[in-house]
């Protein structure tokens, strides 16, 4: 059998692409983007986070286009994003001002502003709900809208960060505000050691499964810490950009939903009088990813031989587009390189026989 480099196959490729629709044609019902946006919102959140692009509608469209594959959807969003210019950096978002929908602490039961469970699957029985097979969607929508309208409006309680209290007590270091321009991993190649801003941006848009697995390895013993979730917040933050006609003024452009986590860790050997912290913030409702990010942020601040203490290892292997692209390329023809490998094996076999 001979192995040669080949060209051609264009018609087969076109037919293959057209055939993708076959797998979306098993029903005559359409999948409305609004339905994906509103009823698959955790999947939409994950895709937006891994794409580094907050757009529920476009994430829903991407998911529809690729049969719900999160990595293909990330690819589509990243590709689309690359066609747009960037017009603005927003004003600095401070999550102190978050409109809180959920806020818990595993460190203290009594925190100023209170622990608000919000909506969580944490306490649900994981039993299949077969009544959803024939759900009355309009009735559900009306019920929840009526629930909101029946509430008595309340002002936001003062909810200072848990870490602020510990900073006031001197148990956590307080740093002055640092306004240094962040490193942007979408426009610059990462260099190591990576600046903190590059680390946080990379972790925030990393593949959820990748950083969850790495954080799990830290907790299982391939790392230094078993952190405590000092505070986990889910809520909306307001985005503003400078007003073109007068940069002293700002324009509100909309809200984004975020999950934010601070983890507290035992003191290291050098400074046993303090706690150290890790930070995570991600688009949407994605608590495990935010916690994993905070664990890894702290772990990367320490030195040692565990993989999670190596910033090149952690930051270079978790990007959904890059990792899936590289793995996917293995499916493409490697006829010439494989023939070379085969020749080498055959030559060795001839020598040994």
């Amino acid at each position: 059998m001979a192995y040669v480099a080949v060209s051609g196959g264009e018609e087969a490729i076109e037919a293959s692409i057209a055939l993708l629709n076959y797998y979306r044609s098993g029903t005559d019902k359409d999948l409305d983007l609004e339905v994906i946006e509103e009823k698959m919102s955790l999947l939409v959140d994950r895709v937006m986070s891994e794409a580094g692009l907050y757009s529920k509608r476009y994430a829903a469209l991407a998911l529809k286009q690729c049969e719900g594959s999160s990595d293909e959807a990330v690819f589509l969003l990243r590709a689309y994003r690359s066609t747009l210019k960037r017009s603005y950096d927003t004003r600095v978002v401070n999550t102190q001002d978050m409109r809180i929908a959920r806020r818990i602490s595993a460190a203290f039961k009594d925190i100023p502003g209170g622990q608000v469970l919000g909506a969580t699957y944490d306490y649900t029985h994981r039993l299949m709900n077969f009544s959803l097979e024939t759900e009355d969607a309009p009735a559900l929508q009306k019920k929840m809208r009526d629930l909101v309208q029946s509430q008595t409006p309340v002002e936001a309680p003062d909810s200072p960060r848990v870490s602020d209290t510990l900073k006031d007590e001197g148990l956590i270091d307080r740093f002055p505000a640092n306004d240094e321009k962040p490193f942007d991993v979408t426009q610059n190649l990462l260099e190591f050691p990576a600046p903190r801003s590059a680390r946080l941006q990379t972790l925030s848009r990393a593949d959820t499964g990748f950083i969850s697995g790495l954080a799990y390895s830290v907790l299982r013993g391939f790392g230094q810490v078993h952190p405590t979730v000092g505070e986990l917040r889910v809520g909306a933050v307001e985005l503003e950009v400078p007003y073109l006609e007068n940069p002293e003024e700002s324009l509100y452009i909309g809200d984004v939903l975020l999950t934010e986590v601070e983890v507290f860790n035992e003191a290291d050997d050098k400074n046993q009088l303090k706690l150290s912290c890790g930070y995570g913030a991600v688009f949407g409702r994605n608590e495990n990813k935010a916690i994993a990010m905070a664990v890894l942020d702290h772990e990367l601040s320490t030195t040692g031989d565990f993989p999670t203490q190596n910033d090149e290892f952690v930051l270079m292997h978790g990007d959904s587009l890059e990792m899936n692209g590289f793995i996917s390329h293995l499916k493409l023809p490697h006829y010439v390189t494989f023939q070379s490998k085969l020749d080498a094996v055959r030559k060795t076999r001839r020598k040994t026989t």
């Binding site: 600095v92 740093f175 321009k181």
Partner: protein
Amino acid sequence: MEKRRISRILARADGAAVKRLADEIKAVQSPVIVKAPEKSLAMIRMREPVQESLFYLGEVIVCEAIVDLAGKKGVAVLMGDDFDKVLDMAVIDAACNAGVFARYDELERLEREQKIQLEKERAMFLKTMVSFHSMDSEVAP
């Protein structure tokens, strides 16, 4: 009224409500489109609380429009791709800058409605606040 406040009210308002305000202006003025609505990106700058440093969280899709009304520019930027709404917002901004916008009362009414809606939503979330019954003090002596 500050630009931040006006833009927040309009961005949160229904597109039809914004259109009504813009149509009132267009009935007596002739705004000219300087920059037709188009999409671009805005990068979110965040401050992290551990070292108080800045980082980029990710981007959002925004649309932007600029109009001219009686020699005054009006600018609007809005998350998403609602071109009609962003253009209407730019017309209202231009009217404000030209001193011919007369419906601040309507903006205040919309703002009151929006505030109540957000506070009702907050009330719903706060219903899930945990009430701990402590059996022992966690405060160190």
